[in-house]
Point group: C2
Amino acid sequence: MVGSVGNGLLDLGGREKVEPLPKEFDPEEIVDSLLHSESNIVGKEEDGTSRKIVLGRNVHTMCLEVKEPEADDEITGEREAYMAGVLARYRRSLIDRTKHHLGYPYNLDFDYGALIHLQHFSINNLGDPFIESNYGVHSRQFEVGVLDWFARLWELEKNEYWGYITNCGTEGNLHGILVGREVFPNGILYASKESHYSVFKAARMYRMECVKVATLVSGEIDCTDFRAKLVQNKEKPAIININIGTTVKGAVDDLDLVIQTLEENGFKDRFYIHCDGALFGLMMPFIKRAPKVTFKKPIGSVSVSGHKFVGCPVPCGVQITRLTHINALSSNVEYLASRDATIMGSRNGHAPIFLWYTLNRKGYQGFQKEVQKCLRNAHYLKNRLKEAGIGSMLNELSSTVVFERPKDEDFIRQWQLACEGNIAHVVVMPNVTIEKLDYFLRELLEKRSHWYQEGTISPPCLAAEIGEANCLCFSHKN
Amino acid sequence: MVGSVGNGLLDLGGREKVEPLPKEFDPEEIVDSLLHSESNIVGKEEDGTSRKIVLGRNVHTMCLEVKEPEADDEITGEREAYMAGVLARYRRSLIDRTKHHLGYPYNLDFDYGALIHLQHFSINNLGDPFIESNYGVHSRQFEVGVLDWFARLWELEKNEYWGYITNCGTEGNLHGILVGREVFPNGILYASKESHYSVFKAARMYRMECVKVATLVSGEIDCTDFRAKLVQNKEKPAIININIGTTVKGAVDDLDLVIQTLEENGFKDRFYIHCDGALFGLMMPFIKRAPKVTFKKPIGSVSVSGHKFVGCPVPCGVQITRLTHINALSSNVEYLASRDATIMGSRNGHAPIFLWYTLNRKGYQGFQKEVQKCLRNAHYLKNRLKEAGIGSMLNELSSTVVFERPKDEDFIRQWQLACEGNIAHVVVMPNVTIEKLDYFLRELLEKRSHWYQEGTISPPCLAAEIGEANCLCFSHKN
């Protein structure tokens, strides 16, 4: 079965017993054990033997089929029993998958128990958060409170910003780049090649010219290359995506140097900067030595994800831009009694309440403590990896630890590591404790000793990805 | 206060006592009654006296400020108490607003109690639903089950479709039109002027030429005008947005006539049709006499909302397109171990479970019963309005009752009616019962008798909006 992670972890180096992982959620089991029906009632597997990227096919690896209820279902209760079984089994798999997660920048440690009685309302913030809609089941008052908090964080006055709570970081990037394009319709989009793929998706969607800029080994934008590309395109304004934490290496682009490069090359008042702060946009303000992301600098928009550092059961994000820019985008829509400068018209009204709740509970001080803990634990992980002879890298302002890609796909999947080429990463979020990292490290070292047994294959060289200084391959380890 | 609906409804025509509505959620009250603190702790109102559309301003009409916790909050529990108070009051307002809702096509009648134990997981279906991601806390197996169901509904084979669960109807339209543009890069977008505003937003985002087509009084696309506009633009392919239920009048465009018009005017194999089925896309298949939306006809994509007819606490939708079209859009993204042909990268993983749950419980038969009930109740409302001398219209395949816009904005807001010009509408969803309609009608007639007292102003003429036959103004009532 694809995604099966059921191989034994029982006795790792004799240090302690670890409970065996439950197998990945297998709908067929439910059928067999619960209902004794044919297997095609619940789920099926097609082409489930190998896991690969297939363009232009929809491969039904696993699917819980929707079946028409039987006429007597209401009497027998069979349907209810079947569904309860599916859901209970699914819940167990979620618990396991949540426990064994290290690769994505999601804080899985949150408690929204206090909000449970709001979950069944159809809360929808249609259109612009600052303009009442006729639809009454909304949460605008929470949304605006959250937006005010972020505007203050990034130093934009209450009457000078506009923003909304998005569905995810991608929507923030799509919005910021669209605002940039409306401000400079013939502008060229510049983004470092390590930018999130949504930036390049935006260029294509919006039919914008797009120039990819090289990066340093750290993952930061290479301003020498940026300068060269600007000089080649002097006649058109520049729209720049700045990464406040790249996806793979957690690298923070040097905002001040980018602005300086623009101004020194004749782009003064002819540029728009969007800051993609998906993860670190909310962590950086709490790190004293970090350069500031602030609207006191000539930036146009900042976006950040809500389900990442804050933690939230639904993907969401915050988008803040200058009010002066938004006129270019908005249009009156009488139907909603709302103009709509958002990308999505209907917006999840639960997300603002989750964010409002956490911001109120933790506050600046709470976040600061969590950021410190994340950075500390990230350093711990990096040091332990180095001690064990595994090439790894940790950018100064980051909690993303990049290291040698584990050789075994099952191991990668079990720990849900995000990988690219020869490298993988762990993003140390507030829910990633030292205990969890130790558990992970024990298992990694145990497995790795089998992958690279003496005399056979060697670990890959990572110099191209993380630099010679961080690589511990055969050629670079001294 | 903006949005206050507290005026008495106590004795309506002596028929029965109706409980007075609680006032709209007023955060200041909480402060006064619960905490006796300064009013700026919780909420504030700025410019709250009138309600209007303001371009280029963010008007903070109501906002629940996020405050930094006090140092002793953990000891005193004040913060917890304050938040609990805010949330309890908010919940009460949601109950009221949910009860008095008629204007938007949202089925507010659902029970997802069985899913309560899944609500606290951070479920995220990153990227393509058919390709596993490394992130394990997902619900792809539910999502694909739901997509299969919809593909079957619209008659596209399992191995010939591609789709995903979107954040809302708007995302479906954005996706469908983008697919159309990728198939015909120099195509012109045609849409009737009564199409949802997201269609015109898409044209602007994607830098597409867009031609607005006139409509009949019913709200359907006017194919005579469509033909004329096609003939003027013969050299470029056509991308057409078809409305399966327009937003305001619930009008269903004549798909067969549109296809015939295209083929007769030299556009054979040079067109792409996106069907915006936001609401009726899921109701029409259950109406026997309704023309069929099916992929056996030359259409490219269909989208439908999940929070409308099905009912769902979060906005969501379903997008189905032909697999052959999707290659044009997709790109490999190693980071996610997923190519991404969706618009949003992170996608709410709870939505597919809600949909899966309802589809399984209700099935085709359940939906059919509900559709019949909606149409029956819509006819009841229209007939009662006509009897009372109020101009109104109900399209044959629709449960959207269009009628004279109530004169009083408070009344409109109380019942959350959607309005445009002189008309308002009620969308009869499964949760709108005869009792609710009677309650609404009683109040409307009572109020209206004051608005149009003899000898003063008369009700507006609606002939331009709903046709002379449906208008009951002074000139048209005979």
